[in-house]
């Protein structure tokens, strides 16, 4: 069933992000990728107002290169992460592209602290044979408007 395939895709994406397998995660994206994490709750125009993350493909590659460089101080010691993806809802299905919303809650452990991050993701997925590629991903963090600690991992 289509829904099961979408779910499995989201779970796999979550596992790759949790385990820092960023090169493999990058291979899930199309070339016209947009990865967007706003820092406001209301409807921001990312072309006019700042976001935490607003990556096209080029920026996404830089992000992954940096996270995998081994020189990022915030990743040494390495954070340990595990997230739950749930509340999956298919919002639109246009044949080649499907839009799916989901919630996540993520535990991030580093130094002497465990942080909880949570939010709602909006994925636009493009069918790619039996699987999908990510065209667009918007992550609306619950704490988007708060003073937040470093976000040196992928949500």
């Amino acid at each position: 069933m289509a829904d099961a395939a979408i779910e499995q895709f989201l779970y796999r994406e979550a596992r790759l992000m949790d385990e820092g397998k960023y090169r493999e995660w990058l291979s899930l994206w199309t070339d016209d990728a947009i990865y967007w994490v706003p820092c406001s709750d209301d409807d921001t125009d990312p072309r006019r107002d700042v976001s935490l993350i607003y990556d096209n493909r080029e920026r996404l590659v830089q992000r992954v290169d940096r996270l995998l460089s081994g020189t990022v101080l915030a990743l040494d010691p390495r954070p340990l992460m595990r997230r739950v993806v749930s509340n999956i809802e298919i919002e639109a299905d246009a044949g080649s592209d499907v839009t799916v919303a989901s919630n996540f809650i993520l535990a991030h452990a580093r130094w002497d602290t465990q942080q909880i991050w949570a939010g709602r993701s909006l994925h636009k997925l493009r069918r790619d044979g039996a699987t999908f590629k990510i065209v667009f991903k918007k992550v609306m963090l619950v704490n988007a408007e708060q003073e937040i600690p470093l976000l040196q991992f992928i949500v």
Partner: protein, 426 residues
């Protein structure tokens, strides 16, 4: 271990001694408290830019030290700063980060103020003596408010040097980045990146004006990525120290100025938008000044105690406690330029800054580690002596040093010491 008498708060010369800085300055809550009394509640503190409250009734919530204040545009167009506290029973009045209001209404008992802060009505007036004057119960203005190029500063102390005197030579540096606009005006919009770190506020200014000292160590990958994308080789700045880059100005301010460094030309021809921009700049400033403004990085600067400007943004430093600080990154847009160029600035900003950026987070992580390091009291002194043998102090009290010298830190701490001893700038 200092003798007990030398540890008394107030004798800061014992803690700040030329190139030696004592660790307690970063970890002692009593010192943090004294900083509130003798720095944050005395000097000019940067609050925001007037473009953050463009319309009548617009307000933004800010803080001076730990005191909530509100910056509010009145119907007369004036921007005022009030203590954000109801005159009735002290409740928080303007509770949103930013909003537009027709009137300010206290949610507790309905006391209502105008956009210029006057009390319009206490509720249930019949319960008050007829002699009660509404004029006595308007919003309390923060005693001193002033601005430069739209940057608004305020002080909760009624007395002190003027903003003009406080800024001194920093005005010239502020001009250098505001003048990047062919209209001579910058704009700060509603978007802001907010960050918290587990560290003392002073680690932040100390870190901010030394991109080429710590840069090759903690920002290595960011410099590499930038270099790959633009063809600019940042490592040459580190390999060859040049003089007259790191400066302090009287008042605790600091500058990092690379205008003397040769920059490789960009590896792309200018876009039509960029050409249009240069044409507008030449129309306003003439060819020579335009060349100067647009072919170098405008100097990075720090205005004591809480304002930083670095390339794409201005930054506010907000102390929370001795070991916690908030940082607000406000991207700066240029009025009068094609949208495409402001969008480019925004994308460049997101490359470097905010909690998910490729540059700032390495600084933040290093500050958190620094906070842990200074808990260790074995030899409780930092050493900021680089370049001391070649210290150059100019007639106006400014100091100037080489790319990796620490003359600016020595001057920052001297200014801090003066204020904390109570011999401040009054």
């Amino acid at each position: 271990m200092l003798a007990k008498s030398e540890q008394e708060v107030g004798k800061f010369d014992a803690l700040i001694n030329g190139a030696r800085i004592h660790g307690s300055l970063y970890r002692d809550p009593a010192i943090f408290q004294r900083e509130l009394e003798l720095i944050w509640y005395k000097v000019w503190v940067y609050l925001g830019h007037e473009t953050e409250v463009p319309n009548a009734g617009d307000y933004v919530r800010r803080q001076i030290g730990l005191q909530p204040v509100v910056m509010l545009r009145g119907d007369d167009g004036e921007v005022r700063v009030f203590f954000n506290r109801c005159r009735h029973r002290g409740n928080l009045l303007c509770h949103r980060d930013r909003a537009n209001v027709a009137k300010i209404v206290c949610p507790y008992h309905g006391w209502t103020y105008s956009r210029s802060g006057g009390l319009l009505e206490p509720t249930f007036e019949e319960g008050y003596d007829d002699n009660l004057s509404r004029d006595d119960f308007g919003l309390t203005p923060v005693p001193r408010v002033d601005s430069y190029r739209g940057l608004i500063f305020a002080s909760v102390s009624a007395e002190g040097i003027s903003l003009d005197e406080h800024l001194g030579g920093m005005k010239e540096y502020i001009d250098l980045f505001v003048d990047l606009s062919p209209a001579g005006e910058i704009e700060i919009r509603k978007g802001v990146q907010k960050l918290r770190y587990r560290g003392n506020w002073k680690f932040h200014p100390e870190n901010s004006m030394e991109g080429d000292y710590h840069g090759p160590f903690i920002h290595r990958i960011a410099f590499e990525l930038h270099s790959r994308a633009t063809g600019l080789d940042m490592s040459s700045l580190h390999a060859n120290e040049i003089p007259d880059v790191i400066r302090s100005l009287p008042g605790g301010h600091m500058v990092e100025d690379y205008r003397g460094a040769t920059m490789a030309p960009p590896n792309r021809p200018p876009s039509p938008a960029r050409l249009a921009y240069l044409e507008m700049m030449e129309a306003r400033y003439g060819k020579e000044k335009t060349r100067q403004l647009t072919t170098t990085i405008p100097p990075l600067f720090y205005v004591f105690p809480n304002l930083i400007h670095i390339m794409t943004h201005v930054r506010r430093i907000q102390p929370v406690s001795v070991n916690e600080t908030y940082i607000y990154y406000h991207p700066v847009f240029l009025k009068g330029v094609p949208d495409e160029l402001n969008e480019r600035r925004l994308r460049d900003h997101e490359f470097g800054f905010g909690p998910a950026g490729f540059i700032a987070p390495d600084d933040i992580e290093i500050m958190e580690r620094n906070q842990i390091g200074v808990r260790s009291e074995g030899d409780d002194w930092q050493f900021i002596g680089r370049g001391m043998h070649r210290d150059k102090v100019l007639p106006n009290g400014a100091s100037t040093g080489y790319t990796m010298d620490e003359n600016h830190l020595r001057a920052f701490w001297q200014h801090y010491c003066k204020l904390m001893n109570g011999n401040g700038e009054a």
